[in-house]
């Protein structure tokens, strides 16, 4: 009977050889037991295609398995591995080490989110604000009860909101937003962009209720149009533009 090697043995046999290496600095912090953040450094070999997430997983595999990081799809679809990489909010699975053009790669948890441990942050506030803007089509009728089987849209109508539907809720825009840093009640660029996504959808009839939610003292008017949300979005969504369009609805320039 062939003996199956244990996971530990299998991991030890994995090759780490590579022509280049990088110093990976990982922020370590456990709010339950520590008062301040500290950095741990690891020298990691990498190839042209190695992503920051793969480097972190390499650390977990060979050096310190206790590093806390959230990830899932590894292809910029699930929005789980958002973090600050060399000072900028990015997806770790969508950032190649070779593209950073630096011998040192520093990874920290996202700003404006409470830290669970190390690189993992709490998403409750993001999901709460996302839920608050009613992220679904509001209609009197529905696909189930209507005699029509589909709600037709022209390509022009689709163009109004399609880029905003690419949001993967990774939280990078909220992490980059300067207003989120000071205003703990601010709705945030992610939720505002999604509010625009549904307001601009020709099938939706819930514009007034959504505009009422965001026309608040900590709503859309707190955006200072820094534009950093749009700069960091890995899916090409432009929340800053969506926010300006939403303001157009509230000021009566759009209907």
């Amino acid at each position: 009977m062939t003996q199956v090697p244990s996971i530990a043995e299998e991991q030890l046999s994995t090759s780490l050889s590579s022509s280049k290496s990088v110093t990976l600095r990982i922020a370590r912090f456990n709010p339950e037991h520590e008062n301040e953040r500290k950095f741990m450094e690891f020298t990691i070999p990498y190839e042209k295609w190695t992503t920051v997430l793969e480097a972190i997983l390499e650390v977990k595999k060979h050096f310190d398995h206790s590093v806390a990081v959230r990830y899932s799809c590894r292809q910029a679809t699930c929005g789980s591995c958002g973090m600050i990489i060399n000072g900028k909010p990015r997806l770790a699975c969508f950032t190649k080490i070779s593209e950073l053009d630096s011998d040192i790669v520093t990874v920290e948890p996202m700003n404006n989110f409470p830290i669970i441990r190390d690189l993992a942050v709490r998403f409750e506030r993001l999901f709460d604000t996302h839920h608050k803007i009613k992220p679904y089509l509001i209609r009197d009728d529905s696909e189930i009860t209507s005699n029509e089987k589909e709600f037709l849209q022209s390509p022009e109508e689709l163009e109004q909101y399609i880029q905003f539907s690419n949001c993967i809720k990774c939280g990078l825009c909220n992490s980059a937003c300067p207003t989120m840093a000071t205003d703990s009640s601010f709705v945030g660029p992610q939720a505002l962009a999604q509010a625009y996504r549904y307001v601009a959808d020709s099938r939706d009839k819930g514009k007034d209720s959504r505009l009422k939610v965001i026309d608040d003292s900590h709503g859309i008017w707190r955006c200072h149009f820094a534009g950093s949300c749009s700069q960091v979005c890995p899916k090409g969504v432009d929340p800053a533009m969506g926010i300006q369009f939403l303001r157009g609805y509230l000021l009566g320039f759009r209907s």
Binding site: T182, D183, S185, S217, H218, W221, R222, L250, L251
Partner: protein, 108 residues
């Protein structure tokens, strides 16, 4: 927030008129005591100055309120800031209006 945009636009228009009116005289001449009193006694112009005072007070204190609300959050704090800014705004408008009233009552 619409009030913030509205007061800003109206103030820009009226302050432009105010600046143009000042350009009809030299700078030093426009600040002479008799000319200032005459301006306040000319009711259409005094009325415009009063409107500018109200617009800028509303705009300025609303802006201050917004800045303070962004610095810190909390139910009690937010109410205190809002009421405080409204009180300060009313105080400033009352103090500015007092000058125009005093001139027209012949007290100055």
């Amino acid at each position: 927030m619409k009030i913030h945009y509205g007061t800003a636009l109206a103030a820009v228009a009226l302050v432009a008129v105010h600046v143009l009116m000042r350009l009809t005289q030299s700078f030093a001449e426009s600040l002479e005591y008799e000319n200032v009193i005459a301006n306040y006694q000319f009711l259409p112009y005094a009325g415009m100055l009063e409107i500018i005072l109200i617009l800028l007070s509303v705009h300025g204190f609303n802006g201050l309120r917004v800045i303070l609300l962004e610095l810190k959050q909390g139910r009690v704090y937010e109410k205190a800031v809002s009421y405080g800014c409204v009180a300060a705004m009313i105080g400033l408008i009352a103090y500015g209006s007092r000058t125009i009233i005093m001139v027209n009552m012949g007290i100055v």
